[in-house]
């Protein structure tokens, strides 16, 4: 190869430096941001600096500094932006959940003492703080464990590279993790989605961890097969068609994703996994034809799904996305394609309600012979965004709690209401920078497996943010996924902190100076202290 690769160019040009000072400055900025957010919530909502500021803010400061110390000591060449950006996102998310957790508000305490009726709220700031603690602890542990990438066979060493050895085992565990929620007994359905399991009193979303496992599996598998899969079969026009026998893996993944779509009725997750696989396949083989085949297969799958009668909800999802208004507080899609409102203002709803029906909307729609759906959540989320406008209402001064799940699936809209378009652009930029640094790490990495691994985790973050944020802003049909680092939920936080730890470790390995030619024979025996 005559042309040097971009990776080599980057490596050649960058004088590798430890950027710990930059990390520290940015980290302090992220903390000031978080503490200010907490203070503003308290001042605007309750009229005083919140009592919890020292617990929440202080807790986050201590955790962040520990994470910094570990990174500075054990991964000093790591990308300086990843840790501060993740802390900033986590901190803003935590402040928003604190703001939405009405139990922490002064009003509510007064109301509770007066014995007044309370608005139920499921936002839980103390639990989220605990999960933040666990998440950052996992980050620290992961950075500590994944040492000595140069000596993968050293005892008790598990590096990103080690994972390659267990490709198929990890692939199997990904499948098991994904199937767990369907297993009766431990699987649990929360808010209509069957993506949870109950373990020791906690609700865990195994899909969040499966996502990481799948990246490892795809990377390991594709590194092995990429030579074969990039071979060209026939050439038709500008397209080079791959050999038929190499179509196997993509078909399997396709069936698997369609399975997710049919069984879990979750278009977002199916899109996430399939998109991840196609992008990694493209990275591994450089063949655009694979992308074309993949997108074609996906289109066929979704098209078939819209035709199947028992998959009517896919059509309905698309219909709600294009025209949510008739579904507000309950709408009924008839076979003729007409949408009849069955909201609490309609006669038919009142009739079922009077009969003591628990879900009058569903029953009313069943009688009309259509399929029921409610767009109130999406529309309330959009109202939330509309309320925020360009500059937002200010933290603690809006009414984001009006949207159901304002603290999890719809936290982006909640932030949009109080921080405005300005705040959301900043948040999207933070995500974009994390993804960009991830890809840069991938480019800078030396090992093909690590390249694919880093590229995969970076892309999966981008895709996940796109699916959920696109959903709650009505860019694409809505599907429930967590918003990385912002949504309330332990599984998501833990998985994402591990993801950041992996990128930090890989960026350190990629950016640290290449081993110098050894002059002194005596030095060869010294094992790095890092």
């Amino acid at each position: 190869m005559t042309m040097t690769s971009i990776g080599e160019q980057i490596r050649a040009r960058l004088p590798y430096q430890r950027r710990n000072a930059a990390t520290l400055v940015l980290l302090i900025f992220a903390m000031v941001l978080t503490l200010s957010a907490f203070a503003e919530v308290g001042l605007a909502r309750d009229g005083n600096v919140p009592a919890g500021l020292f617990v929440y803010g202080g807790g986050l400061v201590v955790l962040g500094l520990v994470a910094y110390a570990v990174q500075a000591k054990f991964a000093p060449y790591a990308d300086p932006l990843l840790l501060p950006l993740a802390v900033a996102l986590n901190g803003i998310g935590l402040a928003m959940i604190y703001r939405l957790d009405l139990d922490t508000s002064a009003d509510r305490k007064v109301a509770a003492q007066a014995g007044r009726a309370l608005i139920p709220d499921e936002a839980n700031a103390p639990t989220q703080l605990m999960w933040t603690f666990v998440g950052i602890a996992l980050f620290v542990a992961a950075v500590l464990i994944m040492r000595d990438t140069d000596r993968p066979d050293a005892k008790l060493s598990f590096t990103p590279k080690t994972a390659q050895r267990y490709t198929y085992l990890i692939g199997l565990s990904a499948i098991i993790l994904l199937l767990l929620p369907i297993v009766p007994g431990i699987g649990a359905q929360i808010n209509g989605a069957r993506v949870w399991i109950r373990v020791a009193g906690f609700s865990v979303q195994p899909g969040e961890f499966a996502k990481l496992a799948l990246v490892v599996f795809f990377a390991g598998y594709l590194v092995n097969k990429r030579q074969a899969m990039s071979l060209i079969g026939k050439k038709i026009g500008p397209f080079s068609i791959p050999r038929m026998r190499d179509l196997g893996p993509i078909l399997i993944i396709w069936f698997f994703c369609l399975g997710v779509l049919f069984v879990q009725k979750d278009l977002g997750t199916a899109l996430l996994y399939f998109g991840l696989f196609i992008s990694m396949l493209y990275i591994a083989t450089q063949r655009v034809s694979w992308v074309v085949i993949g997108v074609g297969l996906l289109a066929v799958g979704i098209f078939v799904a819209t035709l199947l009668p028992f998959m009517g909800h896919v059509n309905q999802r698309i219909d709600i996305w294009q025209n949510p208004k008739p579904y507000f507080d309950g709408g009924c899609l008839l076979d003729s394609g007409r949408v009849v409102p069955v909201n609490p203002d309609t006669e038919i709803y009142k009739r079922f309600k009077e009969q003591g029906d628990g879900s009058p909307g569903f029953s009313a729609c069943a009688e009309l012979g259509g399929s029921y759906a409610d767009s109130a959540q999406l529309m309330k989320g959009l109202f939330s965004l509309g309320e925020g406008g360009v500059l937002g209402t200010g933290l603690g001064q809006g009414e984001p709690w009006r949207t159901p799940l304002s603290f999890s699936d719809f936290i982006f809209d909640s932030l949009g209401e109080e921080l405005g378009l300005t705040g959301l652009m900043a948040l999207l930029l933070i995500y974009a920078i994390i993804v960009q640094r991830g890809f840069k790490t991938a480019v800078a990495a030396r090992d093909p497996f690590l390249k694919l691994f880093a590229g995969g985790v970076s892309f999966v973050v981008a895709l996940q943010v796109f699916v959920i944020v696109g959903g709650v802003t009505k860019l694409i049909p809505l599907t429930g996924l967590t918003t990385p680092f912002l949504s309330q939920g332990g599984s998501s936080l833990m998985a994402n902190w591990i993801l950041i730890a992996i990128l930090v470790r890989m960026s350190h390995d990629a950016r640290k100076p290449a081993p110098q030619a050894i002059q002194d024979e005596g030095m060869t025996q010294i094992v790095s202290t890092r």
Binding site: S5, I6, Q286
Partner: protein
């Protein structure tokens, strides 16, 4: 085989995804924000209206409605009504929802109207809420107080009074009894206010405090409607005030029963000039005129005065519809035509003819203003907090109800009502008018009317007063009207 090139391409694709999200967020929060905020399904507006002070409502320079902080988070601002019982027929109430002027000028009072926000774009940019504008009513507050005191004191049943400026259409009095106090349902009363409003709304029987009896409730106008019948007859039948008309007994053709007169002496003894028949209010004369013209002519002619259709007195605020129906729907939904007997009774303001006091004041205004009715209005002007005028009432003609000559003759006939007719008790009060005593069916009290104008010569204001109870319009409503007019004309 190097992976850097595809990695870079996928990275660019990833950035494009973010670009798409940013574009969408810009679209939603930038250009769609206004539409989302005002979406009919968006319930946020209901509580947000309490977060900033509403504009004041004033009348004659006096503040009658204002907002003040409650010291609480929700609602942050309450609403105070001075003499709420007196002014509520015009101001209405505000408790998130609203009625009357509070409703019609909601966006200006609340500070969300583009006429305010356009001027205060910089405030909007820095997130400062635009302040509500002040609304100045056309009401004459002292006359309004007099009117309320008198209509309330005269009956335990319903009563209403309306006075309009004949040259401009400004409504200077609009009083009603029974009334309600908007303070009872104001935001600061919280859930108690909502309960009280529901209670008022569910009022059983004839007395419904939320429905004012000056422009939102109709009554049979009785003999005051003879003004309309006379005007149509003079305009279309070639009659004038001295034409001789039959005033004696009239047998109704369908039932073969007589249409009674209150007295069969004087002008009502057999025949008289129209002026005399009007002054003494001979039923048979106007019953016969109505039968001769037919119900269609009566309906068409009365429409020129404002009957048979709703009109907006202010944005989204319409008085009740006054009617001279050609046919009515019975209990089974069948249209029943007004027959000859019914037409005769319609001519004297009975049968199914119904009118609001405001409508009858418009009839009197037509007489006083050479046949022209000016569009009635309640709000004189709206000024922003900085004092800029955002809206000013501009008098405009509502309709040409009759010929100018007819109006002049009718005015003279109404003066005759005082000098030699049914309202001699009002001699010397410098007003002219027409009495009316309408029956409202067995078991119900009479609707006692007096409509007219003042001063008697060169009239400036037209009025209508109705009260319910035994006795006649001339005795029960006439003195009230005279006292209100004395107050209106005193300045």
């Amino acid at each position: 085989m190097n992976m850097d090139k595809p990695l870079r391409r996928v990275a660019i694709f990833g950035m494009l995804l973010f670009f798409g999200l940013m574009a969408q967020v810009n679209y939603v929060q930038g250009s769609q924000a206004k539409a989302l905020q005002t979406d009919s399904a968006n319930t946020r507006r209901f509580s947000e209206v309490f977060n900033s002070p509403r504009g004041q409502i004033t009348a004659g320079g006096q503040v009658i409605v204002s907002s003040s902080p409650t010291g609480k988070d929700n609602p942050k601002y309450g609403r105070d009504y001075k003499d709420g019982l007196v002014f509520s027929p015009v101001t209405g109430y505000f408790n998130g929802g609203a009625s009357k002027v509070e409703l019609a000028y909601n966006s200006l009072l609340g500070g969300t109207d583009p006429r305010i926000t356009r001027q205060r774009w910089f405030d909007a940019f820095i997130g400062k809420k635009a302040e509500g504008a002040n609304v100045e009513l056309a009401l004459n507050p002292s006359a309004q107080r007099t009117a309320y005191r008198l209509v309330k004191g005269n009956t335990t049943r319903r009563a209403g009074a309306a006075v309009i400026d004949v040259k401009t259409g400004a409504v200077v009095v609009l009083a009603s009894s029974a009334s309600f106090d908007p303070n009872e349902v104001a935001p600061q009363r919280e859930s108690k206010g909502g309960k009280r409003l529901a209670e008022l709304d569910a009022a059983k029987g004839a007395i419904k405090p939320l429905i004012d009896n000056a422009m939102s409730q109709t009554f049979p106008p009785g003999s005051t409607f003879k003004t309309v019948t006379a005007a149509i007859a003079m305009d279309t039948q070639g009659l004038n005030s001295s034409s001789t008309v039959p005033t004696g007994q009239l047998i109704l053709p369908e039932s073969n029963r007589p249409l009674p007169n209150s007295h069969d002496t004087g002008n009502c003894a057999g025949s008289a000039p129209l002026r005399g028949a009007f002054a003494e209010s001979c039923n048979t004369t106007f019953g016969k005129l109505a039968m001769d013209m037919g119900i269609e002519a009566l309906n068409k002619g009365s429409s020129k005065f404002g009957f048979n259709k709703r009109f907006q007195i202010e944005p989204d605020l319409s008085p009740a519809e006054s009617d001279v129906p050609i046919s009515v729907r019975d209990a089974e939904g069948k249209q029943i035509r007004t027959g000859a007997d019914g037409t005769a009774r319609s001519g004297i303001g009975q049968e199914n003819v119904r009118a609001t006091p405001l409508q009858m004041a418009m009839v009197a205004a037509a007489v006083a203003n050479g046949g022209e009715i000016m569009q009635p209005y309640l709000v004189q002007k709206v000024t922003s907090k900085e004092g800029n005028e955002l809206y000013g009432a501009s008098p405009k003609v509502y309709s040409k109800a009759m010929k100018g000559d007819t109006a002049d003759q009718l005015a003279d006939m109404m003066r005759a009502v005082i000098s030699e007719g049914t309202a001699k008790n009002l001699a010397g009060r410098n007003i002219a008018g027409k009495t009316g005593t309408a029956e409202q069916g067995a078991g119900n009290p009479n609707a006692r009317w007096f409509i007219g104008f003042g001063p008697s010569e060169k009239p400036r204001y037209a009025f209508a007063v109705v009260t319910e109870g035994p006795g006649s319009g001339g005795e029960a409503a006439g003195p009230i009207a005279a006292s209100i007019m004395a107050q209106v004309l005193s300045k």
